[in-house]
């Protein structure tokens, strides 16, 4: 297998060399991810507030989420991060066909996640767990539980939106590789798409235990 070809390609006019361009691009994406963390951060803070002020209500509400679907989705998303990392590695080594297939696999795993999330939302809606006038929660913790489900829907929907954007980006690169648009689907761009994908995965890694696993032991 040949060595990475990144350094050999010509740089855009505003850069001295390709390495500088690559450094600028990756820093730019990390700055974007930093702003994304500020976007999700307040929701996590809201959760921390609710969990510390209404601990029993949050535990009772968390037991009403679907832990099976949530765990399957976590496994799907973690696996998709692995295929994404493999796709970036394959593209870096100029194995374009393998990279394209791995990108399709990544997008497919992401789509499966969204489909399962949709099933879960349908169950939540049927069980009247969506906050609002229809919300029904059978015991004394209804008030705190509604706050939990407000945060549940806000965080998972925001995450799903980010994942949808990620799937579109990954599909674009996979299509470009199939059409041999190697300039568009360059190794460094796929690496950057991977950074975004892994960030979305990171958010879910923290959402999973705080939404699905609280109060499962009943103690």
């Amino acid at each position: 297998m040949s060595a990475p070809t990144v350094a050999a390609a010509p740089a855009a006019p505003q850069f001295d060399e390709r390495r500088q361009q690559e450094a600028a691009a990756s820093l730019g994406l990390w700055v974007f991810l930093a702003t994304e963390l500020m976007f999700f951060g307040p929701l996590f803070f809201g959760y921390a507030y609710g969990r510390s002020h209404f601990p029993q209500a949050f535990a009772a509400a968390s037991r009403h989420t679907d832990v099976v679907l949530g765990s399957i989705n976590t496994a799907l998303l973690l696996t998709s991060s692995v295929t994404m990392a493999c796709a970036a590695a394959a593209r870096g080594h100029d194995a374009r066909r393998a990279a394209a297939w791995l990108l399709w696999a990544t997008a497919a795993l992401g789509a499966c996640f969204l489909a399962l999330k949709g099933v879960e939302y349908a169950h939540d809606w049927r069980d009247r767990l969506f906050p609002g006038v229809r919300f029904a929660f059978g015991d004394a913790h209804a008030g705190g539980a509604e706050i939990f489900f407000f945060l549940y829907f806000a965080t998972t929907a925001l995450h799903a939106l980010h994942l949808t954007i990620g799937i579109v980006v990954v599909c674009l690169f996979a299509l470009a590789l199939r059409r041999r648009a190697t300039e568009f689907a360059s190794a460094e761009r796929i690496e950057l798409a991977g950074l975004y994908w892994h960030f979305v995965d990171l958010i879910w890694i923290f959402l999973y235990p705080i939404l699905y696993l609280v109060g499962r032991s009943g103690g």
Partner: protein, 110 residues
């Protein structure tokens, strides 16, 4: 590093991630009291570290990238510390215009 050895390493990371997922799910059903939450959080941090180090290549990231990620985490810590100290030191009092139903979450729901 050759592509094959890189992918082999990613496969090992995947196994580690799945093992951590199984551990966090299993531990949630054990009666550990306050430790349930702590174990879950520690495992989430371990999973995030695996993703950041191996997939996002954070270990060999440039100083500017590390600074950028560090500042973001620091800003988030500020949000939690300053915002949290406000909420932690205030008692919730019922406002006179709130109906008993609205108050349920603040009085009984805790």
């Amino acid at each position: 590093m050759s592509m094959q050895s890189q992918m082999k390493r990613y496969a090992l990371v995947w196994l580690a991630l799945m093992a951590l997922l199984a551990t966090t799910l299993g531990s949630a059903y054990l009666k550990l009291g306050i430790w349930n939450g702590i174990v879950n959080l520690v495992i989430a941090v371990a999973k995030a570290a695996l993703v950041a180090v191996f997939f996002m290549h954070f270990a060999r990231a440039r100083a500017m990238v590390r600074l950028c990620a560090g500042i973001a985490l620091f800003a988030l810590a500020l949000l939690f510390a300053i915002g949290g100290s406000d909420y932690a030191t205030r008692a919730i009092h019922a406002a006179p215009w709130q109906s008993p139903q609205q108050l349920q979450s603040t009085t009984v729901g805790g």
